[in-house]
Amino acid sequence: MHALAALLRKDGRVLRNLRTLAREQSAFKVIFILMFAGGMLVGLGYLFLEGFRFLSALGGIGVMLIRHLFALFFFGLGLMLILSNIITTYTTVFHSDEIPFLLCRPIAPGEILLHKWLETTLISSWAFFFIIIPFIGAFAWHEHLSLLFMLWTFLFSIPFVLLYAGAGTLITLLVLRWVPRWRPQFWVGATLLVLVGWGVWTLFGAGKPQTDDAVFILGRFVPGLKLAAFPLWPSAWVAEGIMALSRDQWLRGGLLFGVLLANVLMVGLLIEGLGNVQFVQAWQRTRAAHASLRELRRVGPSGALALETRLAFLAPDARALVIKDLRTLLRDPAQWIQGLLFFGLLALYFFNLRNLHYHLLSAVWRNLIVFLNMFSLSAVMCSFCSRFIYPQLSLEGQAFWLIGLAPTTMGRVLKIKFLASLVGMLTIGVVLMAVSAAMLDVGWRIWVTALGLAVAISLGLCGLATGLGAVFLDLKQRNPMAIISGFGGTLNLVLSLAYMAAVILPFGALYHYHTLGRIGAGALNAGTAAASVWLIVITLAATLLPLMAGRRSLMRRDY
């Protein structure tokens, strides 16, 4: 274990240097980020608290729900952690330049994987802590729990995070080591196996009426609650353990903590053991697959010609830039898989709105859900723009001189990047918003408003991300995460979220008050007209101002 200790000591030195680097940052930037983070925490805490109050006000079923929400919350976060860790492990382990460096040193591969498990846990769990702090705070406040409740939650959260992140690391290792690529029969077989497993589970496992009648009844209202309450999930141990300790049931709480800890140690052993015998093979297999794919691409039929034919209507320079960006994105699965996950989960939810029987709710609720869906879709669009569109110019990196020397203008390059992003965003935004509205069976006015907002938000977010990406261009940085988490990236995310709230809230409030009967048809018409003007003005500002600033900044730059 001396190598793991050496790697951890190295991490300690890096951390110390990061502290020094942080001190060198501008005070404005640090204060801005801290205020933003603090504001987000307070805002989320307030939203959670309002949610608990709303459920309490419902009485009976609402109060029962609050008690079970805790297990559902940890269950959901656990699944998110596994997904997040799979992506992080794939990018930071199997596509990292550090691995060949370490593999040539006298370090057991299991120790490398153990170290990477700890590292990816840290990377993939910050969002978990960011969400759990306001949730737990609001829950403790609402239920009048002592401060010790926060302490127990923190105590349980560490092994919980390690356990689920470890599951993600193991899944990635096993998939990359053994899953055959490009064999449709394997994927068909695997899908069938999952479906059969799910069927068996439904018939003989979780599908059976529960001994806990409350869970069974509540499960009919809240999807996933029944599944989350399954007593063998670690998330259920965490929820139960924290509540036990809060009720001074020390033995039960301690026992559940011990079970959790034993499982973490077991996962650690598995990671080290499997890492020692399989990690190098999995890594070599990933590398060898890239090399053979290069060969296949060289000799096999290429999609390039088809792409060029389909985009023949574009000017040659625009076509060249768009095709280059498309190829770069498509050939990096780690990038597009994240996008697919972003919107895929949202699409799954929208398409299931009818299965959740939301279309049978009253008009007040359906309108509210349409606007809440609009918020969630826009929030995902904000993260997508920050993650993929904002850094696209910076990621040109050392090849930027190619564009700088090309017989085109920087303004035109910026316009092409903006329009290409807009086409993608518009397609996703309008389609998903249309699905949401159709599934909820809302009236034509809400339909038009929802689609209009989707178009406007696509425009505004793409303008902000492209423009600010040009203003805060960083050609030295090759890591997209570092570009995104810089000052420009943070500013883009904050402005995008603020813009999103500024355009959705007026329409949402108008329709909500109208369906509640607090404002009449005349006031709704006048309000809609005013909100539409506001939408146009603020969208034009969010689109054009950053693009103009970005264009000016690009023209002034040396390459």
């Binding site: 001396h2 190598a3 200790a5 050496a6 000591r9 190295k10 030195r13 890096v14 240097n17 990061l18 680097l21 330049d97 550090e98 060949p100 460096f101 593999l103 040539c104 040193r105 006298p106 370090i107 057991a108 190098v280 093979q281 070599q284 590398r287 060898a288 090399a291 053979s292 794919l293 290069r294 060969e295 296949l296 000799v299």
Partner: protein, 242 residues
């Protein structure tokens, strides 16, 4: 000593290395030459254990790399063409980290660091973050750190890329000294003049196959070309020859 027997490496339908057999004795400075895509880097990566061979065996100081990779890793040092360095460490901290990994005593780490930092004129940058170092200083640092555990076999891919004449001379002398002290040095380069000056023996690979092997005099005799190494290289690596 490096012993390679019937080494092959396939990437799908592409055969990157074809039946390579080669023995490089202790203390020899061996230059491995070849055009782009000939299989040089693939060979070095297999020799370091980074890639698994499709066939054949490799022994470093008598240890089979497939059977006991951990023992081999203790014996070797590898410097790729674009070496990885931890950007947010300083050269001193990077040295400490390498010392930790190889379990080199602290006093030896300190002494080696002092010697190499003085040799490479790096004292001024000892506590600068690596991300702020120029390419030349980063290369100097990786050489210094690689010599810390006194490797018995050294693999270097393109040692002179992007270096100034001062650094090139330093590394040139360092490699010669290491070979004299008993280290086996296996390096690839495209700068044929350096291969002529440096190498005890030269191997030329083209299309994954070894097409020339020997001292400069032996290569001249074998190819019946009395001109510089460049002429021999161009003759042997012509597509019809390869």
């Amino acid at each position: 000593m490096i012993e390679i027997e019937h080494l092959t490496k396939n990437f799908g339908s592409l055969q990157a290395v074809k039946d390579l057999s080669l023995t490089i004795p202790r203390g020899e400075l061996f230059c491995f030459l070849g055009p782009n895509g000939a299989g040089k880097t693939t060979t070095i990566k297999i020799l370091c254990g980074l890639l698994k061979p499709s066939g054949g065996t490799i022994r470093i100081r008598g240890i089979d790399i497939q059977a006991d990779p951990a023992a081999v890793r203790r014996l070797i040092g590898y410097i790729p063409d674009i070496p990885f360095l931890y950007e947010r460490l300083t050269p001193v901290e990077f040295f400490q980290f390498i010392g930790d990994l190889y379990q080199v005593p602290a006093a030896q780490v300190h002494a080696t660091r002092e010697r190499f930092f003085a040799l490479f004129a790096m004292e001024e940058y000892a506590r600068t973050l690596i991300k702020d170092l120029s390419h030349g200083y980063r290369q100097r640092l990786i050489y210094a750190a690689t010599f810390l555990h006194q490797p018995a076999v050294l693999f270097i891919d393109e040692p002179f890329v992007g270096l100034d004449p001062f650094s090139i001379r330093l590394i040139h002398d360092l490699l010669r000294q290491a070979a004299r002290a008993g280290t086996t040095v296996f390096l690839t380069t495209h700068i044929l003049a350096f291969a002529e000056q440096l190498a005890d023996r030269i191997g030329i690979i083209a299309g994954g196959r070894l097409v020339g092997l020997g001292t400069l005099a032996e290569l001249k005799a074998h190819s019946s070309i009395q001109g510089p190494l460049e002429d021999i290289f161009l003759r042997l690596t012509r597509p019809e020859e390869a």
